[in-house]
């Protein structure tokens, strides 16, 4: 060993620690960068002395990252569903504002008033007005439910567009990472970016990541390979014949395969669940309720006689199901014709006969809904309870999934995240090491200088 060797040792130490300081600085600067995985300098001793610095190692825990992706998708799905149900719940919030129940009560009250004053034109008109208001309230809620389904479809389309944008970026990064690795370069920042995009993707659709030996990832999601190598599959959102959401996957822009049933997580799954399961369940209950009430009212009304002596008129008009509630309206032949209200049971006893009006009013407390087992109020309160339970269940699901996601994210951060404390200690360590190597260089220099003077 000679002084030249000592100079070489100092040089390698200076270079390795400068590199380590560079990595530490990079870690510190990325402390708040989403998806960033901390790096560690890959220092190794050299044969014959000295130190070498290889490529920085990216600290990445496959298991915790995969767990975070899965729970993130579930949390996002639960959140999207919960948000959608929040709007539905407000439509049935009869606790503080007037709604269908209130309008229905006013309608049956107007029937009672009619039974007390069948010969009063104003009371007849008020009854028609209350019936129209009740139908209008029902129709408004049903139309809002349909609008929400429509809005959710638009959201699903927007989400599919986002998914397609992200998968295209991941596919491009797959190619870039392969090239970088093949040329011996550092691909860790590209991998971080890809990992961040995968996390973003998992918020929108269920994602499973398979990494091959070359560093490329295959992204499986929605029952198809969303990304395979440098190729991305596009998702398209539309409606099937029944009006339900249909998601198709197409690799080449051609007719895609229906993958709707395989969408298992992410925002897209939450939107589909709310749109095609939760809201239709409410619509179906509302349709049944309206159909039963409307049919009973029409049957009884048709049995009576108007002040004009005519019988057989319907009070309400409606179609379906489906779509009963949305088409529910005061029958056109009754609009503006209070004399046609069939209050009388006996045409000869009109206009003071209230026989049919009393029977119509009595329907308010009879079991004409729920398949003949519930009063109108009980049947509607069941719908309110159903909506409340569904939203409450969605709220709880959000809490559970959010908690699982937080745990998974904590695990992942614990492995891959940056700790400033740690980095500051490293900074000090590498700084001191750099200073020590500088001292070695200085000592070697002084020795060489002494030698040169001696010579």
């Amino acid at each position: 060993m000679g002084l030249g060797s000592l100079l070489g040792l100092a040089q390698s130490g200076l270079a390795a620690n400068a590199y380590a300081l560079d990595i530490t600085g990079s870690n510190v600067s990325n402390v708040n960068t989403p998806g960033y995985s901390r790096k560690t300098p890959d220092l190794a001793s050299m044969l014959g002395g000295g130190v070498t610095a290889g490529n920085a190692s990216r600290v990445f825990d496959q298991f915790s990252a995969a767990r975070m992706i899965v729970t993130g998708g579930s949390s996002s799905a639960a959140g999207a569903r919960d948000n959608a149900l929040g709007s539905v719940s407000q439509l049935f919030n009869e606790t503080q504002s007037s709604g269908i129940a209130d309008a229905m009560s006013r309608f049956f009250s107007s029937m009672s008033a009619l039974a007390a004053s069948p010969d009063d034109t104003t009371t007849r008109g008020a009854m028609l007005s209350a019936a129209d208001s009740f139908a209008s309230q029902v129709r408004g809620v049903a139309t809002d439910l349909a609008s929400q389904r429509s809005g959710l479809l638009s959201q699903a389309k927007g989400t599919a567009d986002e998914i397609n944008g992200i998968t295209a970026q991941i596919a491009a990064l797959n190619g870039d990472i392969t090239k970088a690795k093949a040329s011996g370069g550092d691909a860790s920042s590209l991998e971080d970016k890809r990992q961040s995009l995968v996390a973003d993707l998992s918020q929108r659709v269920d994602v499973k990541v398979v990494t091959d030996a070359t560093g490329q990832v295959t992204i499986l999601g929605g029952g198809t390979a969303l990304v395979s190598g440098s190729n991305a599959t596009k998702l398209n959102v539309g409606m099937d014949a029944a009006g339900n959401t249909q998601v198709t996957a197409s690799a080449n822009g051609g007719a895609g395969a229906d993958v709707t049933g395989s969408i298992a997580g992410g925002k897209l799954a939450g939107l589909i669940t709310a749109r095609d399961r939760d809201i239709p369940a409410v619509q179906s209950k509302l349709d049944t309720f309206v159909s039963e009430i409307g049919t009973a009212m029409n049957t009884q009304h048709a049995a009576g006689y108007g002040a004009d002596g005519v019988t057989g008129r319907a009070l309400f008009s409606f179609a379906g199901p489906p779509g009963t509630a949305q088409s529910f309206a005061l029958d056109s032949q009754m609009v503006g014709h209070p004399e046609r209200v069939a209050a009388a049971a006996d045409p000869a006893a009109a206009p003071g006969d209230n026989g049919n009006a009393a029977l119509l009013a009595g329907l308010g407390t009879q079991q004409i809904a729920g398949g003949g087992t519930k009063t109108p109020a009980d049947a509607f309160s069941d719908i309110v309870g159903f909506v409340g339970s569904t939203k409450q269940s969605a709220d709880r699901e959000v809490g559970v999934q959010q908690s699982l996601y937080t745990q998974a994210k904590t695990m992942n951060d614990s492995a891959s995240g940056v700790s400033l404390d740690e980095e500051m200690a490293n900074l000090s360590m590498y700084q001191r090491a750099y200073q020590a190597n500088a001292k070695v260089l200085q000592a070697a220099d002084q020795l060489l200088a002494g030698l040169m003077q001696t010579l």
């Binding site: 009560s105 309160s381 492995a415």
Partner: protein, 293 residues
């Protein structure tokens, strides 16, 4: 476990958000006094509120019906009271006219008096209420009697529900009060008196007293029925008022928050939130200690 800065920030952020949410809930409950603001807060409670609200509306509707019926019932009762007074007066005229001391001209004067009574009776029997002639049965747009005292209405009843499963006959039967359908034709009884007075026949005048008594009794009976109806309406209305009080109480029990608890929870949430902010500041200052040391 290795603790990173993002873990600390996330923990701070999520705990602050959770506490903010709790603070918002607590402040909403304390400010509104309601523990159910939406169906999901208590689905069973929200459904019960709908049911109770409907029962409340139905009860108020029954009260409204009672008020409508009461108006015409009070009018009928007052009219029948006047009619009984009229027949009391007619009987007095008959007794006076049957006296042998009266001359034919005296009886002619009494006949004119009875003639006026016939007009008064026609007017009373054709009294109009809020929604038509109150003694015409269900033919409320037709006068109960024509000028000759012939009944033009019918004897149909108008049954009205005044409570769940409780129905009353809301109209007073003009047929039973004033016509032979009730046993005596009141108009005929008066007419018989007038005819006897015009004929200056003391015997026939005395004989007419029975008809007048029968008509008086018949109208009194109809008045008693109307009085019973009014009494029943008043009693039922009182019951409804009590029911409404109980229903309101039941609704409050379900929907209202316990205010001392709500204020206590609000205070607790505020304190916890303030402490969390203080802890957050402390953690952030610790994180920056490296740079200030």
């Amino acid at each position: 476990m290795r603790i990173t800065n993002s873990m600390q920030y996330d923990a701070l952020s999520s705990s602050t958000q959770r506490l903010e949410s709790r603070l918002l809930d607590a402040s909403r409950t304390a400010s509104t006094g309601l523990k159910i603001a939406a169906p999901e807060d208590d689905p069973a409670g929200a459904a019960a509120l709908v049911r109770l609200g409907t029962i409340e509306d139905q009860t108020q509707s029954f009260q409204s019906v009672i008020q409508r019926v009461q108006g015409d019932a009070e009018l009928a009762e007052g009219t029948l009271a006047s009619a009984t007074d009229l027949f009391t007066e007619a009987k007095s005229v008959a007794l006076q006219g049957s006296s042998g001391a009266l001359s034919a001209s005296d009886r002619a004067i009494l006949s004119l008096q009875v003639d006026g009574m016939l007009g008064d009776l026609l007017s009373l029997a054709n009294t109009k209420g809020e929604h038509g002639f109150i003694f015409s049965g269900t033919l409320t747009q037709t006068a109960a009697f024509d000028a000759s005292g012939t009944f033009q209405g019918n004897d149909s009843t108008r049954n009205v529900d005044i409570a769940q499963g409780v129905s009353v006959v809301a109209n007073t039967s003009g047929a039973k009060a004033f016509t032979a359908a009730g046993g005596t034709d009141a108009f005929k009884a008066l007419q018989d008196l007038k005819t006897a007075l015009d004929a200056n026949d003391p015997t026939a005048i005395a004989a007419s007293v029975k008809g007048l008594d029968d008509a008086h009794g018949q109208i009194t009976a109809a008045r008693a029925d109307t009085g019973l109806l009014m009494s029943r309406l008043t009693t039922t209305q009182s019951t409804h008022s009590q029911s409404l009080t109980m229903l309101a109480s039941a609704k409050h029990n379900i929907a209202d928050a316990d205010l001392p608890t709500a204020y206590s929870q609000l205070s607790q949430a505020q304190t916890t939130y303030t402490q969390a902010i203080a802890v957050g500041k402390q953690v952030l200052s610790t994180l920056s200690a490296w740079f200030t040391a």
